[in-house]
């Protein structure tokens, strides 16, 4: 068995495009669930909003407006990105206004429902590509700025990326670095303290004269914007978007990553993502190799795909039961976690 191949595959996935997408979405979830205690089970909706706004602007709107703005297609991405963030903000308001005054599980059900509504509705809207989604040179404006030399593959030690992937990966990690810094700055501030207070007991914070509704809304919006950033990276990196990519399981993957890395830790999502994707891809690759070489006889190659999800499901259960603060957890804090 060639473990080396599995290892490099795993490594390049753990810091690659997929990891960046999940990390951004999970960082948003960390703000909402980790710090403010908001049960957002529909983070995927925010991701989808990012991907679809960009996809629609670049592929549908830009060609339509070239008649009165000839260079629309050269700049469209840079207009579409703030627009996507604006739509994300509106979605947060739409979700938050009815539910943030209600019990926590209402938000859970409404957010997961919204994710599904979005997916089902988009499927039947032809301008958004219907079931097929949108594909094309969605990231063209972004790749036009690619400073890497025009070669097929870029080698970085153990891992190799294509020229466009490396550009996405580098920008992705810079953005992540900045957003981690932002999270850190926000969460050590009195604002972050009041969010953590709301997570522990909203009534107590109300009694201390804080407008908790406003702060929960701010947390929902901020976390949603992070999710939308994930969606923007997704569509730029893959240059396509399909409705069925945005299933509820995406959000549950993010929860697994968050709990694996440490809830309410600035670096929790980062550590969680790297470990999660490394282990996932490594196991999968090893299994594929083992099945192909006949080492494992009872599985067919096609049965390996679902194993990824089974592993995530089992991991989520076990983590939640045994170590809710897995890696960055604080011993003292863990001892208190009687919730």
């Amino acid at each position: 068995m060639d473990l080396g191949f599995a290892l490099t595959q795993a490594l390049s996935q753990a810091i690659g495009v997929t990891a960046i997408i999940y990390l951004l979405a999970t960082m948003g979830l960390n703000i909402q669930f980790g710090y403010a205690g908001l049960l957002n089970f529909g983070q995927v909706a925010f991701v989808a909003v990012g991907s679809y706004t960009i996809g629609a602007c670049v592929m549908t709107v830009a060609p339509a407006i070239t008649s009165w703005w000839p260079s629309a297609e050269s700049y469209i991405l840079w207009i579409a990105i703030p627009l996507a963030l604006l739509v994300s903000l509106l979605l947060s308001l739409l979700l938050g206004i009815p539910t943030l005054r209600l019990r926590a599980d209402y938000l859970a059900i409404v957010t997961i429902a919204t994710g599904e509504i979005f997916r089902l509705v988009v499927k039947s809207i032809e301008p958004l590509g219907g079931v097929q989604g949108i594909s094309g040179k969605i990231g063209a404006n972004f790749y036009a700025l690619n400073p890497f030399p025009d070669v097929d593959r870029v080698e970085l030690g153990l891992v190799t990326y294509t020229r466009s992937d490396i550009w996405v990966v580098v920008v992705g990690w810079i953005v992540i670095g900045l957003l981690l810094l932002l999270t850190w700055a926000l969460m050590r501030s009195p604002w972050g303290r009041s969010l953590r207070g709301i997570r522990e007991d909203e009534d107590a914070v109300l009694a201390l004269g804080k407008n908790t509704y406003l702060r929960k809304m701010q947390a929902l919006i901020l976390g949603g914007l992070f999710g939308t950033m994930a969606g923007i990276f997704w569509v730029v990196a893959k240059q396509s978007v399909q409705p069925d990519s945005f299933v509820p399981d995406f959000t549950f993957f993010c929860y697994t990553i968050l709990i694996l890395g440490g809830v309410a830790r600035v670096l929790g999502p980062l550590i969680g993502t790297i470990i999660f994707w490394f282990l996932l891809v490594f196991t999968e690759q090893t299994l594929i190799t083992a099945v192909e070489s006949g080492t494992i006889g009872f599985l067919e190659l096609t049965q390996v795909g679902p194993i990824r999800f089974i592993l995530v499901g089992v991991a989520l259960m076990l983590l939640m039961i045994f170590r809710p603060q897995w890696i960055l957890g604080d011993r003292k804090e863990l001892a208190l976690d009687a919730r």
Binding site: P190, R196, D201, L208, N211, T212, L336
Partner: protein, 294 residues
């Protein structure tokens, strides 16, 4: 040896006639026809109630008398079906709880709400109002709020000293004992510099050793001019510390007066005996059952 403020409050109340809905010389809180129904049940139906400024007023009554519900209504944690009430002369009827707290009408809870996974010091700092760093935009610019944060920390540490919690300031609040949490909650409420502090069963679950210190703190708070109103089952405490006692039963105020006059009131004795035949008036029963969602 009561302090000056205590003596003044007691003198003011001495001339008030001990009857339900009595008018007080200087009322900080005035409530009129406040009612709350749950389905067919009338939980609160208070015709008139005044609270004398700088007094320590106890609110007592058998289980289910509507004391906590009245607290919730007055502090904006529940919405009244009818009624209006004023605080410091201005109407605050159904005002959101956080706005009331900012105006200096601060409450604590029957089931202590210490924020477990925040440190004791952070619990305290959270209590300060008007924090610039609590605005999201300013939060990422520490130079805006750092000076204020320092002042808040000093204020918090001073209060923690006073409540004998300074040594625990770096611990998680969840690691404190039940009594210490009660102290922390009271100290945290003082961070808001309240004019009226409303304590919901401050003695419930507190061990006898700490009770005396809690009582002293309540007296001290009043001596600083803060009006104290509290719900309590511990009759010893009511007798010890309060200037005025309001008795509720079945949602209504049935008696008012000085502790001595109320304890001898036949209507009060009937209310207690009628509701709880086997109840020891000094026991602190009502706690446990707060089912449902966490």
């Amino acid at each position: 040896m009561p302090g000056e403020v205590a003596a003044a409050a007691q003198a003011a109340l001495a001339v008030v006639s001990p009857e339900p809905g009595a008018t007080k010389p200087d009322s900080i809180l005035v409530a009129d026809s406040v009612s709350r129904h749950f389905g067919g049940l009338t939980a609160v139906d208070v015709a008139h109630l005044e609270v004398q400024r700088s007094s320590i007023t106890a609110l007592i009554g058998p289980n289910g008398a509507g004391k906590s519900t009245l607290f919730n209504l007055l502090t904006g944690f529940d919405n009244a079906d009818t009624g209006n009430w004023t605080y410091e002369g201005a109407s605050v009827t159904n005002m959101p709880s956080y706005k009331l707290a900012r105006k200096g009408m601060v409450r604590t809870f029957q089931l202590t709400k210490s924020l477990s996974r925040l440190t004791v010091l952070d619990n305290m700092r959270l209590g300060a109002t008007g924090q610039k760093g609590e605005r999201m935009g300013a939060a990422i610019l520490p130079f805006i709020w750092r000076g204020q944060e320092k002042a808040i920390t000093e204020q918090a540490m001073a209060l923690l000293e006073r409540f004998n919690l300074a040594a625990k300031s770096a611990d998680f609040a969840g690691a404190l004992s039940g009594g210490q949490r009660k102290l922390l909650e009271m100290a945290r409420a003082l961070m808001l510099k309240p004019n009226l502090i409303m304590l919901d069963e401050p003695m419930a679950g507190v061990n006898p050793a700490l009770k005396q210190s809690l009582l002293d703190h309540i007296r001290d708070i009043r001596e600083e001019g803060t009006t104290v109103m509290f719900v309590e089952h511990d009759m010893d405490m009511v007798r010890d510390v309060s200037d005025w006692v309001v008795v509720m039963a079945q949602g209504k105020v049935i008696a008012e007066g000085t502790p001595r006059s109320v304890m001898g009131n036949q209507a009060v004795i009937d209310a207690y005996l009628g509701a709880h035949h086997d109840r020891n008036l000094t026991a602190s029963g009502e706690s446990l059952t707060q089912g449902g969602n966490s």
